[in-house]
Symmetry: D2
Subunit: 138 residues, 4 copies
């Protein structure tokens, strides 16, 4: 049963369909279906991560404008509230405006997601992405 | 033209179709189509990154076993060969076996992808993921 | 002439004289003179550093209380004003109050000392120490 | 008793005596004695650090040549043997030869000194300096 195949039908903008076809070609997939299957599997692995019972590691990368008053203060306050989870953070001063901060967080997946959402959601954060190092036995 | 909609049809395992439906529900999408469109757009943004002419920042996260002889040496050699691109790296000793390394790389997208692939492809690297901080005007 | 030896005489608290004698013993020096000579030579090397014409690296370690309002903002502002000098900084959230920050600075010795003094002098910084990686040909 | 003053007499090279006099002037000390007293007190504070019963933080800065085979491997092996003590390390690739590594270590002073000595003593390490963040209540 596990392997039974179903057909689904989607409506997408022509432009995106063209992009999909290019990706299929470029990455040597044999069909659109195969490409989408891989995309879904990747998300699925990511989802499993949140079910993990043991401690895992998340890496949150953010870019923000340090001129946004209060932002740096709030960011540090959040990290301190979770200081047992936040292992360390590395900061690069990109230019006069932009800060890059890479925050390494350890804990249960849900804790990591919480810290991450708290920080990413701050007003002034231009970019935020959480890497989940799934399936590594620590 | 840009907005014309086309229908595409896919064959996917039932299990993955169920997973897709759960994701649609869980993330408040109105349809499977809408969910897949967003997935494709995200990849598309990522692709544009590689066309970027200006310097951008990439963050490569890897996990590896430091007992794998030669691995750490090779990793450092690669980073030195690109020392103008590698801004810094942060290392966490996860346990007796596993190292987490977060490497911050600056340069043209293709340079970043090259360094990243060189490192990720080393024998002994268990996990590797490159974050592309797209669309930030540096 | 360079090697001519002179005698100098000092007044120091008895307690400190005892400490000096213990250090001489503990570190296998043959005399108080030899110990003090080494101390002075170390400072002298440090002094030479500031004469260096080429770029050198300084590592500033600070500990501060992040509850001190404005402090984190000021610290980041200073670092951004010198963003060409500050290569990166690593931050550890020690506990609910204390932040440890290690700031790696590149430039002419005087530039490094200036950035360092600006940061160390901020109200709320509890500890500050600058390491000068002298005599490394970069 | 504590404040009783003793006189000690030292033999030092003329050159170093001149350097001492310059330092006295430059740093606004009223005498050579006062300058030397401050030097000794600073060492004394450092010594007290090693008596500390609680966890403290040490920051070890090293510069080494990554072409020295085995060196990077040994360095990582040592850090992993003490992975509970080594919080994180930050690495800058200075040029084709030189690596700068800043290692943040937590633990009893003696543990920190041990890790530090093990690493500093490795063949190929050109520069090593341990910062002791004394007297910070964590």
């Amino acid at each position: 049963m596990k392997d039974s195949i179903v057909r689904i039908s989607l409506s997408i903008p022509k432009e995106l369909a063209n992009f999909l076809d290019n990706q299929v070609l470029k990455n040597n997939y044999s069909s659109r279906s195969e490409f989408i299957r891989d995309l879904l599997r990747e998300i699925s692995v990511n989802e499993e991560w949140t079910e993990e019972k043991d401690d895992v590691i998340g890496i949150l990368t953010i870019v923000y404008d340090h001129h946004k008053r209060e932002l740096t203060q709030k960011m540090i306050d959040i990290q301190h509230n979770h200081y047992l989870n936040v292992l360390c953070s590395t900061h690069i001063h990109l230019d006069h405006y932009n800060c890059l901060e890479v925050i390494i967080i350890k804990g249960k997946p849900q804790e990591i997601i919480d810290v991450s959402n708290n920080i990413s959601g701050l007003n002034g954060v231009k970019f935020a992405k959480l890497i989940k190092t799934a399936n590594i036995k620590l």
